[in-house]
Structure formats: structure tokens, C-alpha cells
């Protein structure tokens, strides 16, 4: 009796799975991604008590995925002081000398104090992942 029950369950599950497999072969569903979670809270209706103050909620951040590799942490800590690293990923693939010139501009024109030993690390990282020859993402 017990064996019959087990046997029935096995057959039933097998059939169900096979049927589902057939069904699911026809379409594609249930795909979710946490990659670009950009959820922002809906604003509450304005309160009269705010008087002459006009406000919005905090602005959401959408951090990009920087290419993994040596120098990524240096880029995240020094370049992201003033701006998001989307300023890097937004660019088209740029020649190595353009990346060097951009870093130079950030130091000399914009005044970002990047230690001398870190400058080549940042430049090399950008040149290793964001030129026409090697950009992948």
C-alpha cells in the first residue's frame, strides 16, 4: 500500500514536471534582476505645516558596475569624490592618451588631490578596461 503511494507520487511528479517543461518551452517568464534596482519611494502629499518650504525626496543613486581589475578601488575612492563613476562608464571607448588627459584634467584643472603614486594606478585601470581595444561592458 505504502509503495503504491510512493509510486503514484513519483509518477505524478514526473508527469507534472514533463508537462510544465513542455509548457515552459513555449515561452519565457519569471526573470528578475537586482542589477539595476532603482526603486524610489513615492512622495507623501505635501503638508501645510511646511509653509514656504518646497522639497523633494532624496535623489536616487544608480551606481554602475565598474570592470573588475587592479585599480578599481582607487578609481572608486578618488574619482567618486565629486562625481559618480557613471562618468566613466557613460563614455565611449576612448584612446589611452585621452584617459591619461582626463585624469590630468581632474588633478590640474578641477583640483582633485590624487597622490602621485595613485595617479598611474588610476590611469592604467582606465586604459586596461575602457579603450576601443579592450572595453567589454
Amino acid at each position: 500500500m505504502r509503495y503504491t503511494t510512493v509510486w503514484l507520487i513519483v509518477v505524478f511528479t514526473g508527469f507534472t514536471a514533463a508537462a510544465a517543461r513542455l509548457m515552459y518551452a513555449q515561452f519565457d517568464a519569471g526573470q528578475y534582476s537586482q542589477k539595476n534596482s532603482g526603486a524610489i519611494a513615492q512622495p507623501a502629499p505635501p503638508a501645510e505645516a511646511d509653509g514656504a518650504s518646497y522639497s523633494v525626496t532624496a535623489y536616487p543613486l544608480y551606481p554602475p558596475e565598474l570592470a573588475p581589475g587592479a585599480g578599481r578601488e582607487a578609481v572608486q575612492s578618488y574619482c567618486a569624490t565629486c562625481h559618480s563613476t557613471r562618468y566613466i562608464t557613460m563614455q565611449p571607448p576612448l584612446p589611452p592618451e585621452t584617459w591619461a588627459a582626463e585624469v590630468d584634467k581632474m588633478i590640474k584643472v578641477m583640483g582633485q588631490p590624487i597622490p602621485e603614486d595613485v595617479q598611474p594606478v588610476i590611469i592604467k585601470y582606465l586604459q586596461a578596461h575602457y579603450t576601443p581595444e579592450n572595453r567589454k561592458r
Binding site: 505524478f12 511528479t13 508527469f15 507534472t16 514536471a17 514533463a18 508537462a19 510544465a20 517543461r21 513542455l22 509548457m23 515552459y24 518551452a25 513555449q26 515561452f27 519565457d28 519569471g30 526573470q31 534582476s33 539595476n36 532603482g38 526603486a39 524610489i40 512622495p43 509653509g51 514656504a52 518650504s53 518646497y54 522639497s55 523633494v56 525626496t57 532624496a58 535623489y59 536616487p60 543613486l61 544608480y62 551606481p63 569624490t81 565629486c82 562625481h83 559618480s84 557613471r86 562618468y87 562608464t89 557613460m90 563614455q91 565611449p92 571607448p93 576612448l94 585621452t98 582626463e102 584643472v109 578641477m110 583640483g111 582633485q112 576601443p132 572595453r135 561592458r137
Partner: protein, 434 residues
């Protein structure tokens, strides 16, 4: 897409029939886990690439994700700090761009989330006899309200089309918008502050601040206009945009409106007007937003490297036009009439001629112009077209402005990626009618 859906549904019904009798709802959820990984149709492979280049961006908009921001419809993300968002193409079907859809471009990351108008004042200072501190109610009650329909276009709109590509905000064509701006006359305001005779320029600054050191472009965003520039007579300090308060991201509580000029001068959250008795040497005037002093601002990388290129601050917007529909996303049907629609504008006065080609610019026909909303507004245009045969067609649009400037069919190149105004094209596919 729809067709694909329908086919899938039919397939589903067939499998349901096969599986008849096994209507085991309990097994449904569990069986899902037994499925092999079928992620070949994942969002990633159906979505745009994450970047374009080194070739020109082939898309109308830039390729970033669509994101949500306070007081905004979903817009295309360029960068999240400072915030730069692009307006999707379909919002240009009308002459006025909705406030929620209007593109966003800040230069520095510390921008207002809240402004208390009981404290906020617009200050007019520097080389003036009578410095002013104006509240919002001063602006609305002491000065005559003026309204103007004017296009606000980023200097770098369409930068992603330049060859070779240049660094900077990789805008598609959506870094522009048109609104009805209402506010106080800048000229009237300057007159009431009584400019001193030695004054040369007027500088504008908003509430935005950056984390860079003082005195650098990374700390403050400052723009100025020459006091002799007649554009000052057309400029207004706008407290309303399309008859509503400005969205925070578009410069609440007031922004400068400089009709005909690129948006770099339209300082957002304007709070300081400083009359200068010497030329403005700050980064945003002396180094950034400059264009070669050549026809169309055109040059080449060799001349720039050789230090041969003299530059001047960018000012007026050259004539442009855009095809908005059809947008190439779906097939047209042979022999079925469609209407080709779009917008046109110029910083040099009204667009008064609009031509459309359906053979990649070989021949042109005049399009009908929509209602005029003044010299600085978008003007809609339309033309009926019946695609004669199935196949591929390249549509093109060409505007002529009141000064006789015609859109050229050559690109432009300069290191800042400014002033793009080449004739735009749209490729459409026409299918058989039966």
C-alpha cells in the same frame, strides 16, 4: 512582439492539451524549479548595449537605462551624481515638452532637495548703485510678468554622434526641451539695481555647489553674459515653466531663461546676479563651453593638437530639426498613408521652411509647418507620405530659419562636442500589404 506573444499563447494551449488530465495545480509551482535554465531570452540580450563607440551612437537617444527621479517621468540616465537625464524621443511629438519629461543636466553634485522661500532671496550685487535682495513675492509683484516660449538645448546635445567621439556627456538627441517660461524681465531687474558705468558683464550663480576646492570649476558653476549683449533684453528670470512651478531638478525656484542661447547660460536655482567690472575668467567661461571661432564651430583633432584653434564662448543654437514619427521601431505597410511628423527650431529666429525627403536626401518636398509660438519655440511640422512599395526607405528632414540658415548635410567636430546640427535621418522598413 505581439505576434510573438500570440504564437506563444497558441503553443501554450497545445501543451495544455497534451497535459490534459494532469491538471495538478499543486505541481505547477514545484515544477518550475525543475526546469532547465532558459535565460536565452534574458532582458540583457533584448536590451540596448551599455555603451556605444568608437563609431557614432546609432540610436536617437543615448543608451543608458530608463530611471525614476522625483517629480519626473522615467527618463534616460546619463549620470546619477551630478544628475544628467535625457528626454525620450516620443515626448517631442508636441511643441511643448512636459515638465516631468524635461531633460536634466547639473554640473555639480550638491543640488537642492528643498528650498525655503521664507529664507531664499535672489541677490543682485557687484557693480550696482542699489544692491537688491528679492524674495519670490518681490519677483512676482514688483516686476511685470513676461512669458516666452523658448527651447532649452544642452550645448552637447547629440555629442554621441561626433566622429571621432569626444569625452563628455554622451547625449543622444534628447538633451533639449521647449517650455513656456514666465518670469521677471532681467533688464528691468538690472535697471532697478542701477548698473554702474564701469560694468562689463553680468554673472549668474545658482544654489549648486561641488566638492572641489574653492576657485575651481569643480566647486562653483558660474556663467556670465556681456552687458552689451542684446540677448539680455530677451532674458527672463523664470518662476514658472509651462504655467507650473519649476521642478526641483529643472531649477526651482527660479532659473535664467536666455532665448536662442544654449542652455549653459540658463542658470538653475538662480540666486546670485553679480555685475562685474572686468571680464569673467572663471573655468565655466574661460575654459569650458567654448567653440572654435570658425564656420559652424568646426575644426579637427590635428589643428587642436597643434594649438591652432582660437575659441569663443558658445552662444546661439544653430538651426535643427528632428523626425519624431515614424521612428523606425515598427514596419509601415505599402500603400498605407502615414504622416511624418517632427519639430524644428533655431536660435536665430523662427524656422519658416521645412523639407522632407523619403529617398535619403536625393529629392525634397515641403512639409506643412504647425502653429508658431514665437521665434525661439519648437515648431511642429508634418507631411503625408504613402510608401509606394515594400522595402527600406531613408527619411530625412531639413529646416531653414528666418535668417536663411539651412541645415547642412555634413557633421561638425570640435573637442567639446558642441553645435551638432546635421540633417537627421530615419530608416523605415515597409512591408507588403498582402
Amino acid at each position: 512582439m505581439n505576434e510573438h506573444r500570440r504564437l506563444s499563447r497558441r503553443g501554450l494551449l497545445q501543451s495544455l492539451a497534451t497535459a490534459a488530465g494532469l491538471a495538478a495545480t499543486a505541481g505547477f509551482g514545484a515544477a518550475t524549479n525543475l526546469l532547465p535554465q532558459q535565460s536565452q531570452v534574458s532582458g540583457d540580450e533584448k536590451s540596448l548595449p551599455t555603451f556605444t563607440g568608437p563609431a557614432p551612437n546609432p540610436y536617437w537617444n543615448s543608451v543608458g537605462p530608463v530611471v525614476q527621479y522625483p517629480q519626473k517621468f522615467p527618463l534616460v540616465l546619463l549620470t546619477d551624481r551630478p544628475i544628467q537625464l535625457e528626454t525620450p524621443r516620443h515626448y517631442f511629438e508636441t511643441a511643448f515638452t512636459p515638465n516631468g519629461a524635461f531633460y536634466v543636466r547639473w554640473h555639480l553634485d550638491e543640488i537642492p532637495n528643498a528650498v525655503d522661500l521664507s529664507v531664499w532671496r535672489l541677490s543682485v550685487e557687484g557693480s550696482v548703485e542699489r544692491p537688491l535682495k528679492l524674495s519670490m513675492s518681490d519677483l512676482t509683484s514688483k516686476f511685470k510678468p513676461l512669458s516666452v516660449a523658448a527651447v532649452n538645448q544642452c550645448s552637447g546635445n547629440s555629442r554621441s554622434k561626433l566622429q571621432p567621439r569626444v569625452p563628455g556627456g554622451q547625449w543622444g538627441d534628447g538633451a533639449m526641451g521647449n517650455a513656456k517660461w514666465t518670469g521677471a524681465s532681467l533688464r528691468e531687474l538690472l535697471d532697478s539695481a542701477k548698473i554702474k558705468p564701469d560694468a562689463l558683464a553680468v554673472q549668474f550663480q545658482g544654489l549648486d555647489k561641488g566638492k572641489g576646492p574653492e576657485g575651481r570649476g569643480s566647486h562653483e558653476f558660474l556663467k556670465s553674459l556681456d552687458l552689451k549683449d542684446s540677448v539680455l533684453d530677451d532674458s527672463i528670470i523664470a518662476y514658472a515653466m509651462n504655467d507650473e512651478p519649476l521642478p526641483m531638478l529643472n531649477g526651482f525656484p527660479v532659473r535664467l531663461v536666455v532665448p536662442g542661447y544654449f542652455a549653459t547660460y540658463w542658470v538653475k536655482s538662480l540666486s546670485f546676479i553679480r555685475v562685474l567690472d572686468k571680464a569673467d575668467e572663471n573655468f565655466w567661461m574661460k575654459t569650458a563651453y567654448r567653440v572654435p571661432d570658425t564656420p559652424r564651430g568646426n575644426t579637427n583633432p590635428e589643428d587642436v593638437k597643434g594649438g591652432k584653434v582660437r575659441t569663443v564662448p558658445i552662444t546661439r543654437m544653430p538651426v535643427r530639426s528632428f523626425i519624431v514619427t515614424p521612428n523606425g521601431e515598427k514596419k509601415l505597410i505599402a500603400q498605407l498613408p502615414v504622416i511624418i511628423r517632427g519639430i524644428a527650431f533655431s536660435g536665430y529666429g523662427s524656422v519658416n521652411k521645412m523639407e522632407v525627403s523619403v529617398d535619403n536626401g536625393k529629392s525634397w518636398a515641403s512639409a506643412q509647418l504647425g502653429e508658431g509660438h514665437g521665434p525661439y519655440s519648437f515648431r511642429t511640422w508634418s507631411i503625408a507620405w504613402t510608401p509606394p512599395h515594400p522595402g527600406r526607405y531613408v527619411l530625412a528632414a531639413r529646416a531653414t530659419d528666418g535668417k536663411g540658415n539651412v541645415q547642412p548635410d555634413e557633421g561638425v567636430w570640435n573637442p567639446g562636442g558642441y553645435l551638432w546640427n546635421r540633417i537627421e535621418r530615419e530608416q523605415v522598413v515597409v512591408g507588403r500589404a498582402s
